[in-house]
Symmetry: C2
Subunit: 389 residues, 2 copies
């Protein structure tokens, strides 16, 4: 079992930050996380940093040492890139660094700056998460790819755009109290259904926005925490990572996402829990249908059953399994490289009571999960977080 204290979290607001550089945003998030943890930068052993397209948007590769320096240290660092799962994977590998005994204190997080690329530039940048040779050059963009997956799901199990609209409405509603969210805007099912179509069956409100932002976590070994008399309310007790073919055309079906299932099984096994033990989930809803795929691959619902979960109210904040209480990618925003770490931060703060939506979490809730996906779920990570006794 992994047993890594999640001692501190930090993040910028997600949105459009034309006046901020990537290093500025990551410094904000990382220093906030260190302060939250009560750990000096000098005690950090390594940095695990996720970023997707900084080479394009800021002409900046080799961001590991740049971001370490922004935190006031020159510790060994690496940039991990796995498209939209970059910082989920940074967290995964950071948990391993502590579990292996190589590190006691690690910063894991990520950053993305995308609004400066413009809509066409960001779409072009995001396309690099798909197979350039066989998908992108055939005209596939991410709205199109997920629309194909949604249509395959509808064909196999049934489902309607209205089902998806309920997911968008729920996640927008959740974000209303989250001042870090990109979109604090209430929408209705009717508005979602009437929005301009972007790729059938998706309308505009089925897609997450293009955002700038950063998120960071401070992880530590139980030994370091004990030695320094530091308390952490939450621990990461399970970490899993899964893979699938890069391109959609190489998969036997488009209506399931086995990379998330593989990551979930590994994380549950690591934490010795079942899906039934989970009280809240933050999942990768880059498009509304992606929340459905995630909940089924996480074992929360059987195939074909998650499509109606938001409509039935089960995943709303007053439901049995609140999902994306932060607002999700859909409304909180999706600065690609920051998303996975921000999801883990959201679960942690929801469980420890410090998140603005923590009131929706049951008093006896002790376990939450965060699921992060790259591309059309060619990569996925799942983390299990538990309240420490």
């Amino acid at each position: 079992m992994s047993q890594v204290h999640l001692a501190g979290t930090g993040m910028t607001s997600f949105g459009s930050h034309p006046g901020r550089t990537g290093r500025d945003m990551f410094a904000s998030a990382g220093l906030e996380a260190l302060e939250d943890a009560g750990v000096p930068a000098a005690d950090v052993d390594e940095l695990f940093y996720g970023n997707f397209v900084g080479t394009l948007s800021e002409r900046q590769g080799h961001q590991g040492p740049l971001m370490a320096e922004a935190l006031g240290t020159t510790v060994p660092s690496r940039r991990i890139e796995s498209a939209c799962a970059s910082s989920g994977l940074a967290v995964h590998d950071a948990v391993r660094a502590i579990g292996s005994g190589d590190a006691d204190v690690v910063v894991a997080g990520g950053m993305e700056r995308m609004t400066n690329m413009g809509t066409a530039g960001a779409t072009d940048g995001l396309a690099r998460a798909a197979d350039d040779l066989y998908e992108v050059r055939s005209g596939v963009t991410f709205p199109g790819a997920y629309a194909l997956m949604a249509r395959a799901y509808f064909d196999e199990y049934g489902g309607t755009h209205e089902d998806l609209a309920h997911i968008a409405v729920k996640n927008h509603d959740n974000a209303l109290v989250n001042d870090h969210a990109h979109l604090q805007q209430e929408i209705t099912v009717a508005e979602a259904l009437e929005a301009p179509e972007i790729a059938a069956p998706f309308g505009l409100y089925d897609a997450c926005p293009i955002s700038d932002g950063a998120a960071a976590l401070v992880l530590m070994s139980p030994a370091y925490a004990a030695e320094h008399d530091l308390e952490a309310g939450v621990a990461i007790t399970g970490a899993g990572h899964g893979g699938d073919t890069m391109a959609l055309h190489d998969r036997p079906t488009l209506s399931r996402t086995p990379a998330t299932r593989e990551a979930a099984e590994a994380a549950y096994d690591d934490a010795s829990i079942d899906p039934d033990d989970v009280a809240i989930a933050e999942v990768h809803d880059c498009f509304t249908i992606a929340e459905v795929f995630a909940l089924e691959a996480l074992g929360m619902y059987r195939g074909g059953k998650a499509i109606g979960a938001a409509r039935r109210g089960e995943t709303r904040r007053d439901g049995e399994l609140p999902v994306n209480l932060s607002g999700g990618l859909k409304a909180k925003g999706h600065p690609v490289g920051a998303t996975g770490a921000a999801q883990v931060a959201a679960v942690a703060t929801l469980l420890d009571g410090s998140h603005p939506r923590a009131g929706a979490v049951a008093d006896d809730a002790t376990i939450g999960v965060a699921q992060n996906a790259g591309g059309t779920v060619a990569s996925a990570t799942v983390h299990v977080l538990e309240v420490m006794e």
Copy 2:
């Protein structure tokens, strides 16, 4: 102590491969490594893949799952980017994956395709390994940055362009029998000194070429090797990783490279060896002066003493400590994301006798090191390899 069997190696030739895609090259290297190891792709647990500018040169991010698929698997993968140290770091983190008990068989390697970017495009791409905001926009390119470091070294310790020329001559000579090398061309000290100046004190022969290529390793746990009756001649017994400030102007001196020293100390400590135990070294000679920095930071020479090593013959193939018997980055070539893994492969095959320059390795040599650096050594990795008894 790390104890990871290096069971197989594979690489493409390094050079200009206008007709090959990145996935094609990595498939060649990875499948060759698997065949060399005698391991089916189905037994691989994870892929650690290094790449620097594929987002630019092939419009391809998210290369982890793409490259895993090229090997015939969909195992969890990640791209690790640390500029020119990308695949050295991939190897480092792969060693950790096995050491932690999370994986039994791992492929670690990397690929870069750069010649398709043209000279200006490649120079522009490589500049992303420096601080865009404060170095690149001031006109710094990598030849210029390393030239500044060379001049600082000369100012502090002395040294001449002729000393550097001997390093270039040595590494070109080493590459003559290496059919995987980009430059199989003998040069003389006079030719090196007469070559066009690129950034004082450097002439053309002080710089490595821009290359395409891929390299891969198969690493396995001793338990897996024993269970499958697989023999590996060489093990990785030490792995270290170091960091420094991103930009040159933030360092107290330009005449030392503490990131390599940090990585070396960690690797030696891990392997329980001293620098004196090392019989051969492959070091990151992107420019001739970088070999000098590496040898001093590795503890092979005191500050100011490595500049004359090639001239005195000590690091030549008939010297006491042969360095860059593969030809080094200087003559073997430098497909950025492949370099670190290729260095480890070179040390392994030199030690087990299968490298074309293995005849230069002393019969009783059992220990070699590989040193990989990113940017102006803002990142570095060092691996210790030992012949298994």
